[in-house]
Symmetry: C2
Subunit: 328 residues, 2 copies
């Protein structure tokens, strides 16, 4: 093992804490600090050795960080931070507003290319390892259908979006898959499902004092990209209920590819995740991709990248020889 890969964290919420923990599971990596827009004196890292810096200290750390992992939200943080930080660092992020990925890719790509940096966008599990399985499934079984199911679980991105609605003090959003649709796909049905037939969304919301529930509910269920295509329920609860019933962040889901080969050979690929903690898993994916980004950057592969551009072997700390001998 040569020198350790120095990984820093921009933004210190659940995802940032997950990244901090994950770095310590990887012996070829070293923590290179947390960067926060808050007053750094108010931020207490989970691991005693982690240094905390203010946002203004970013530029002076450009030479002390191999990869910066962006842990902000997709709605308000990353559209600005993605290009801003890709001009200073090699980066990895979990930008997850699917509909806006092309424009986000373009803006990060321009910043990264100008600065000769490598910026991997939109990883985690969806987008991320689920995207990989959609691609592999479609490429291997070109005559077939792909179905993605999520849940039951808390969606960080959607919870975040609800929390940003005016009048919302706190909120959590659960996505639920329709078991009947999953079973139909497993049984080889070629049925097509509408978005509404596959999932529902449940929001539990604590209102700010004086907020109008009807106005909040309406703002949520009509929110483009996030809720407008789903049957969404909004339940108003107290902060006590929230603290008691909604503190863990389990999630999961399936990517299924059902296809035909030869004359009538039915083939089914099913990729499933069962996660105790969504940000903890997402963080682990970001950290594995940070290793790949470090290697791509060293090889001069600059610009924005996605999981589709990364050879799987680049994710592993092990040598190609070891991987061939042990995992192939």
């Amino acid at each position: 093992m040569s020198e350790k890969i120095r990984i820093a964290i921009a933004g210190y919420g659940n995802l940032g804490r997950g990244v901090e923990a994950s770095i310590r599971q990887n012996p070829d990596m070293a923590p290179a600090g947390v960067f926060t827009r808050r007053d750094p004196a108010t931020v207490t890292p989970a691991e005693p050795g982690t240094e905390v810096f203010g946002w203004s200290a970013l530029a002076e750390h450009a030479d002390r960080v191999d990869v910066m992992i962006l842990c902000g939200g997709s709605k308000e943080d990353l559209p600005q931070q993605g290009p801003e930080l890709a001009a200073l660092f090699n980066t990895v992020d979990s930008f997850d507003t699917h509909a806006r990925i092309p424009e986000y890719f373009a803006s990060v790509d321009e910043a990264a290319r100008s600065a000769a940096k490598t910026a991997l966008i939109s990883t985690g599990w969806d987008p991320g390892v689920f995207s990989l399985n959609r691609l592999y499934g479609e490429a291997i079984l070109p005559e077939g259908e792909t179905h993605t199911f999520w849940g039951r679980g808390v969606s960080q991105g959607h919870s975040d979006a609800v929390r940003r609605v005016e009048g919302v003090a706190n909120a959590v959003q659960y996505t639920l898959p329709a078991e009947s649709a999953i079973e139909q796909v497993r049984d080889g049905s070629r049925a097509e499902f509408t978005t509404r037939e596959k999932h529902t969304r449940e929001c539990f919301v604590v209102l700010e004092a004086g907020a109008d529930p009807d106005q909040v509910r309406d703002a949520i269920v009509t929110m483009p990209h996030y809720f407008d295509e789903y049957d969404t329920s909004v339940t108003f609860i107290s902060e006590d209920d929230m603290a008691r019933d909604h503190t863990t962040m389990p999630h999961g889901g399936f990517v299924m590819r059902s296809g035909l080969t030869g004359r009538d050979q039915r083939q089914l690929i099913e990729y499933g995740l069962k996660l105790d903690d969504n940000p903890g898993f997402t963080a682990s994916v970001l950290v594995a991709y940070a290793r790949a980004v470090h290697r791509l950057a060293r090889a001069g592969e600059h610009g924005a990248k996605t999981v589709f551009d990364v050879a799987p072997g680049l994710l592993s700390p092990r040598s190609p020889e070891e991987l061939r001998a042990d995992l192939l």
Copy 2:
């Protein structure tokens, strides 16, 4: 779409026929012939348009084939054909004797580099997409265990190995997973299983006239790499029984990665295949990788490669822009 990728087939058994069918599912590919060591006049391709050539015609087709897919067996065909054909063509194969992959890689690598060709070895589903999932699982959840389960299904490689035993007229081998072990992994058990605890192997064998059953049974159950580490049953049946009960080739299995993140967050990744037809699926994987090999060869990436070296996007006929917009 530019010119079609010309794909040829070396060896025309179940896998070769699967590749022939799969090429026709991919509009960016064109069949460039079947090459057989038999008399080509005796080989009738499944698709009317497929041309059949003798083995001696290989060299003269070097400029008319973009990628040659090797469809011979791992035990006797590929160790010789892999390097031989990688000196003439870009190749893809399904070499599946796990223990011998390093030496096979080295011999193909040398041949391919000398000829400035690209040779992807050991793809299909195991090795192949199962290998990918072992690698992704381990890289994402470094603190955890990986378990691979196969079956119930016919293993081509193992059936082939049994058929090559002296005294065997015909044979089929089924691999069976232990459901109890699968459930233990799903439930978060960190139990370690021995090879024997995870699977058993069942062989159904038609003897040649005059063959000694005990000698055949002994040759099978002690065969290194294939059977010596498993509980293997050998049942002798008639050719009629074989034709009635053992003509389809279903298979399947799971790669599971169970790991911990943070303090005690249990995360489970499960990749499963449920295949009506094993060679039909393997063929589809080979064909998808042929597209990637064609692109790698054009980019000057020569030598032997494995699935670990191939960025997922190279498998898809779609552009990076489309993939980001539709699948990420």
